[in-house]
């Protein structure tokens, strides 16, 4: 593509170059810092309950532990969320839905695996119907416990915020 302006002629794919320039600019220090700050304090998990840890997940967003003060608000639609919590065991049937929901979420997106089952099966390690989340999704942080206490979930959110602000989170690389 050839493009001319004010006597300067540019040759090449302008759209592609513009996209690259924007990406370069966004990844530069001042803008990148602001972007990561914004992401860190607007982690909205998708309302996707995979197993029984959902009871503790609900308690986490309830008044006593109130993680909404960290910008963590469970939301209905995957299109408006950027965090996915695998709450406990992921069965084969649910794993398909999990990948489906994950693919619908916009970038940057993060995955937190909650509970012993999400790490390596937990009490159901020898069950014929479970999937390890690490095999199908890029998991950012694992929360141990069966079920993890709401404090542990809140701590994981703070850890994820720190990782995002340091630029270490896997979800940011896409």
């Amino acid at each position: 593509m050839v493009c001319g302006m004010n006597g300067v002629t540019l040759i090449g794919n302008l759209e592609e170059s513009a996209r690259k320039a924007v990406q370069w600019l966004v990844n530069k220090t001042p803008i990148r810092g602001i972007r990561d700050w914004g992401i860190a304090f607007s982690l909205w998990p998708v309302h996707f309950t995979t197993a029984c840890c959902g009871a503790e997940f609900a308690a986490t967003s309830a008044p006593r532990f109130d993680v909404e003060r960290m910008g963590f608000l469970p939301f209905v639609a995957p299109r408006q969320t950027n965090l996915m919590l695998i709450e406990g065991t992921l069965t084969r049937k649910m794993a398909k839905a999990a990948v489906w929901v994950y693919e619908q979420m916009p970038d940057p997106k993060f995955v937190v695996a909650m509970g012993a089952c999400a790490i390596d099966g937990g009490i159901f390690w020898n069950s014929y119907n479970i999937v390890r989340p690490k095999d199908i999704l890029p998991v950012e942080i694992y929360i141990p416990g069966c079920p993890p206490r709401p404090e542990a979930v809140a701590r994981a959110i703070i850890m994820l915020q720190k990782r995002i602000r340091r630029g270490e989170a896997v979800g940011l690389k896409f």
Binding site: H47, T49, C53, E56, A62, T91, V101, I123
Partner: protein, 388 residues
């Protein structure tokens, strides 16, 4: 040329309520012609895994399917196991089991109320339900040391004695909940919006409820006073006074009101238990004598059980045992077949949620799409419990 009038609406498995299940709704305009629940999203093969685990290891396993109602699952399994082993818990342990089961019923019903609130779009009730649930969870934590998965009830007794000052704390907690229930009445139960959405919606007739084999509060809301605690009393229930909450209407509102009334009855039971609880050991004499003398001192001083070594390899004689308890969501049945080895030959659990799942198809037929969450929430359906 015939025209297709209905379209299929897929709800879930990612949806804004309790999750774990998918509903296929066939809708004609705004009317649901047919609704088929698609269960099995949380099938974790608990029954099969139980065949590979030792008897004592199954206690945490059977708690996992119903995280909101762990104590009753634990109790049901242990009652069946005790029948196999031929031992009985001492009276104090029976009372302690009862108190934990009732505490669990209270926080499970608050959980159901909160989830129902979020399905109706009332975040306040979600916040209130989950905040007041924490009171009972905190009290259970004082008693057992865990928030939800207590594993408190063991064959022959319980794990811990009442902590110091538990009665006073409990009285405070119960008085708080009593006060809060009045607020619930004002804000939620007598709220015109709630009543408009729930009254007369999803009516379950008495005959249908019996024919479909419904259990628990859903059955009692249709006018059938069936409660395992009365029909076949276990633990300390024969000595306690309480009423079975029954309502005649059978609609969604009645199901919610039955649960609220059950919270009141549970509080009544807890008060009686704390007043009548006898002194004595908390573990059966058969096992207590097997604890080494050094640990026995610790057990007597601290009121905490050190497991005797025999618990690791319990070998019940050949045979089968059956137990049923009234869990928060209804009648819960455990059936164990033993072949004399350290693992059961077969463990069968019939969970109340699985028996109530048929209601989705039965009740939502002919309702409007907006009534689906109102009815779904009122059933207090817990998918992991149904799928096991």
């Amino acid at each position: 040329m015939s025209e297709e009038r209905t379209i299929e609406l897929l709800i879930g498995p990612q949806h804004p309520s309790s999750g774990h299940m998918r509903l296929y709704a066939e809708v004609d305009g705004d009317i649901v012609v047919r609704l088929r629940p698609n269960i099995g999203y949380v099938h974790r093969t608990v029954e099969k895994l139980a065949e590979t685990k030792k008897y004592i290891q199954i206690i945490p396993l059977v708690e996992r399917p119903s995280l909101a109602d762990t104590a009753n699952h634990n109790l049901g399994y242990v009652l069946a196991l005790e029948k196999l082993l031929g031992i009985e818990a001492p009276p104090r342990a029976q009372y302690l089991r009862t108190i934990l089961a009732e505490m669990n019923r209270i926080h499970s019903h608050f959980y159901g109320l909160g989830i129902h609130g979020i399905m109706l779009g009332s975040s306040t009730i979600f916040m209130w339900g989950f905040a007041d649930r924490e009171i009972m969870i905190e009290m259970a934590q004082r008693l057992t040391g865990a928030r939800l998965t207590y594993s408190y009830i063991i064959p022959g007794g319980v794990r811990r004695d009442l902590p110091q000052g538990f009665e006073d704390e409990m009285e405070k907690a119960l008085r708080y909940i009593e006060r809060r229930l009045k607020d619930y009445g004002k804000l939620f139960l007598r709220n015109p919006v709630t009543r408009a959405r729930l009254e007369g919606v999803g009516v379950l007739k008495k005959e249908d409820a019996i024919k479909l084999g419904i259990v628990g509060p859903n059955l009692r809301a249709s006018g059938v006073p069936y409660d395992v605690r009365k029909v076949q009393p276990y633990c300390a229930y024969p000595e306690l006074e309480f009423d079975v909450a029954v309502r005649e209407e059978g609609d969604s509102m009645a199901r919610v009101l039955v649960r609220v009334e059950e919270i009141r009855q549970s509080m009544r039971i807890i008060r009686q238990v704390l007043k009548q609880i006898p002194d004595g050991p908390i573990l059966s004499e058969n096992y207590l004598k097997m604890i080494p003398p050094k640990w026995k001192e610790f057990v007597e001083k601290k009121g905490r059980i050190k497991f005797p070594a025999i618990m690791a390899n319990l070998r019940p004689p050949k045979g089968e045992a059956f137990s049923r308890v009234e869990a928060a969501r209804g009648e819960l049945v455990y059936y164990i077949v033993s072949d004399g080895s350290v693992t059961p030959y077969r463990l069968r659990m019939v969970t109340p949620s699985f028996r109530n799942v048929v209601l989705f198809e039965h009740l939502i037929q002919g309702c409007r799409v907006a009534d689906i969450p109102a009815i779904y929430g009122s059933l207090d359906y817990f998918p992991p419990e149904a799928d096991r």
